[in-house]
């Protein structure tokens, strides 16, 4: 190879090999698989209806009947925790998907066009990147109002900038490569070059990073729900459960503690996975 750059696509086999040799990556993968399965099979796994109130059994501590106790409406914490996984994963996944599509498109187009346009776009993205994710999400969610759709939009916007960054850098090197020149000479339009020739060469970079940013998206979702800007009650969300638990923190510790660990484990699983994927796709750190 005469023209080796950092953007050289990693062969899938090599990536898998490096990934599978990392023990922590397996921990992350197993954890995440377990959480996804719990979310998918929630109706079969949850012992109770997550919305069913039971005034007689208010604020019950963990017991054989209610494994993780009940909340101030007598709802089963374990069942709410299981259903809450659905919201966290769904919001995180959809938000990252939107951010990935929009961000990558912005990065590729900006890098391909270059010049003043590119400088302005990057200037704006730099500010978005350094603006506190939580505050940006908070402002957007506050302006739009609390709902599932608005929550996803708010989180997606906060994650656009990193994707654009990752997509832009390889575009700038790739657009000068011979195969792009060749397809241009062949009569391909700019859109076709950008999305058929340049994009596939960086897709692995983008996908690798999305795992790390999904961790950040889920953290933002939980934080916004905790502040009260998430999916409105009575829907079970982990952040919302902690919010309710926080109100009863002096006499019912289990309300806040269990959803806290659920969030922690999910974010940790994604971080472990993302770290391992990034290390595996970056030949220098092998």
């Amino acid at each position: 190879m005469t023209d080796t750059t950092a953007t050289e696509p990693v062969r899938p086999g090599g990536l898998w090999l490096a990934f599978s040799r990392n023990r922590l990556s397996w921990v992350g993968l197993l954890l995440l698989t377990a959480i996804v399965l719990v979310a998918i099979f929630a109706p079969w796994l949850a012992p109770y209806d997550p919305l069913e109130q039971n005034i007689v059994a208010r604020l019950e501590p963990p017991s054989a009947e209610f494994l993780l106790g009940t909340d101030s409406y007598g709802r089963d914490v374990l069942s709410r925790l299981i259903y809450g996984a659905r919201i966290s994963l769904f919001v995180g996944f959809v938000a990252i998907l939107i951010a990935m599509i929009v961000g990558t498109a912005i990065g590729v187009i900006s890098g391909y066009i270059g010049g003043v346009f590119d400088q302005i776009v990057m200037g704006v993205l730099d500010v978005m990147l350094s603006f506190p994710t939580l505050l940006l999400g908070l402002m957007i969610a506050a302006m739009l109002g609390a709902s599932l759709e608005n929550l996803i939009i708010a989180i997606a916007i906060t994650e656009i900038a990193p994707f654009a960054r990752v997509a832009r850098a390889p575009t700038i090197t790739l657009k000068q490569r011979d195969f792009v020149e060749a397809s241009r000479a062949y009569g391909c339009g700019p859109l076709r070059i950008m999305f058929r020739h340049i994009l596939p060469n960086m897709l692995s970079d983008v996908v690798v990073m999305s795992s790390l940013w999904m961790a950040s998206a889920i953290r933002t979702e939980a934080s916004l729900s905790f502040i009260g800007l998430g999916v409105p009650p009575p829907t079970a969300t982990w952040g919302g459960m902690i919010r309710e638990g926080f109100e009863n923190i002096l006499d019912a510790w289990w309300l806040a503690v269990f959803p806290s660990f659920a969030i922690l484990l999910t974010v940790l699983a994604l971080n472990l996975l993302g770290d391992a994927l990034r290390d595996a796709s970056d030949p220098r750190s092998r």
């Binding site: 922590l24 200037g123 704006v124 730099d126 500010v127 990147l129 350094s130 603006f131 506190p132 994710t133 939580l134 505050l135 908070l138 402002m139 957007i140 506050a142 302006m143 739009l144 109002g145 961790a215 953290r219 939980a222 934080s223 905790f226 502040i227 009260g228 800007l229 902690i242 638990g245 926080f246 923190i249 002096l250 510790w253 806040a256 503690v257 806290s260 969030i263 922690l264 974010v267 940790l268 971080n271 472990l272 770290d275």
Partner: protein, 314 residues
């Protein structure tokens, strides 16, 4: 150096302008308009029209935009609707406790994060490296309010070592103040430490393989001199970048921490503004945050020049 500084300061201006425009647009995205939000659903059409007139919402958009910019650049961020005091006044009242909290967190993060990161890099793949990597990954995975709640439950409620309800406003003596600051600052500091440690480790690992380190060793430099003056100094650029970038996260985390530990500060101010649907206060806070972030970014860039002489000549 002077030219570099001036150029960086000039670059910050367009960025600020873009941010202000974004905030202007965002506030205009509120469903309905500001007047109907302020007065609520029951407002009469006359009252709405009068308020629109007062707020200048009837004027063309570009006039509103120019008026907005004019206000911001003359330091007028408007009046908080919920309290009737100026936004600047509201912010200045609570700012000292937020600054106190974030400074304490930065100190904790750097004091523990830097040495641990260096130690992890020096013992690469040893047990210390392994443990510190896992600890830092766990630290990074904690949303600030989750770690805050867990600390509150364990140290304040179960063990009773610290007061459950914080608040620097009580005007008590120094040791009480420290006790109130301890848990929130530790909460923010530990997350920051995880971050600093990770970056320090990565940066040190990059530098330690450089030729000049080998040369230094061959010359007979002691390990301390080698690590501190040669390796660490050259690792500082990525560390400074990340710490600068982390400032935004730190502010976000301090918002959550202030809510959990019931401390006065920007965080409680934001949540209060949210609950009262006080959009002028929110807008003002956004502008102030944007301004702070841009200032910190600029300072971060300027810090490069101090650490790395090569930057000046670019």
């Amino acid at each position: 150096m002077i030219i570099y500084t001036l150029r960086r300061l000039l670059l910050a201006l367009p960025t600020l302008l873009v941010m202000l425009t974004a905030i202007f647009v965002l506030v205009r995205l509120v469903p309905g308009d500001a007047a109907s939000v302020i007065l609520g659903d029951q407002a009469s059409t006359e009252a709405l029209a009068a308020l629109r007139e007062k707020l200048g919402l009837n004027k063309p958009l570009y006039v509103q935009y120019l008026a907005f910019l004019g206000d911001v650049f003359s330091g007028n961020l408007g009046t908080a609707m919920s309290t009737g005091r100026s936004v600047i006044h509201e912010v200045l009242t609570v700012l000292p406790s937020t600054i106190e909290l974030t400074l304490a967190a930065i100190v904790i993060g750097l004091i523990f994060g830097l040495p641990l990161g260096v130690a992890a890099a020096l013992t690469r793949n040893g047990w210390l490296d392994y443990v510190s990597r896992i600890v830092s990954l766990v630290g990074l995975s904690f949303p600030a309010f989750v770690s805050g709640i867990l600390m509150l439950i364990v140290f304040a409620i179960q063990l009773g070592w610290f007061p459950v309800l914080g608040g620097a406003a009580s005007g008590t003596d120094f040791s009480d103040r420290m006790r109130q600051l301890a848990l929130p600052a530790l909460n923010l500091g530990i997350i920051m430490m995880a971050y600093v440690m990770r970056v320090t480790r990565a940066a040190m690992l990059g530098v330690l393989t450089e030729d000049y380190i080998r040369t230094g060793r061959a010359k007979g430099l002691g390990p301390r001199q080698l690590v501190v003056t040669h390796a660490l100094r050259n690792s500082l650029i990525p560390i400074i970048t990340v710490v600068g970038l982390y400032f935004g996260t730190l502010i976000g985390n301090s918002v959550l921490t202030e809510i959990i530990f019931n401390r006065p500060g920007l965080g409680k101010l934001i949540v209060g503004a949210l609950n009262a649907r006080d959009y002028t206060l929110l807008q003002g806070l956004m502008i102030i945050f944007a301004f702070c972030v841009i200032v910190v970014n600029t300072l971060t860039d300027l810090a490069y020049g101090l650490v790395d002489p090569r930057v000046k000549y670019e």
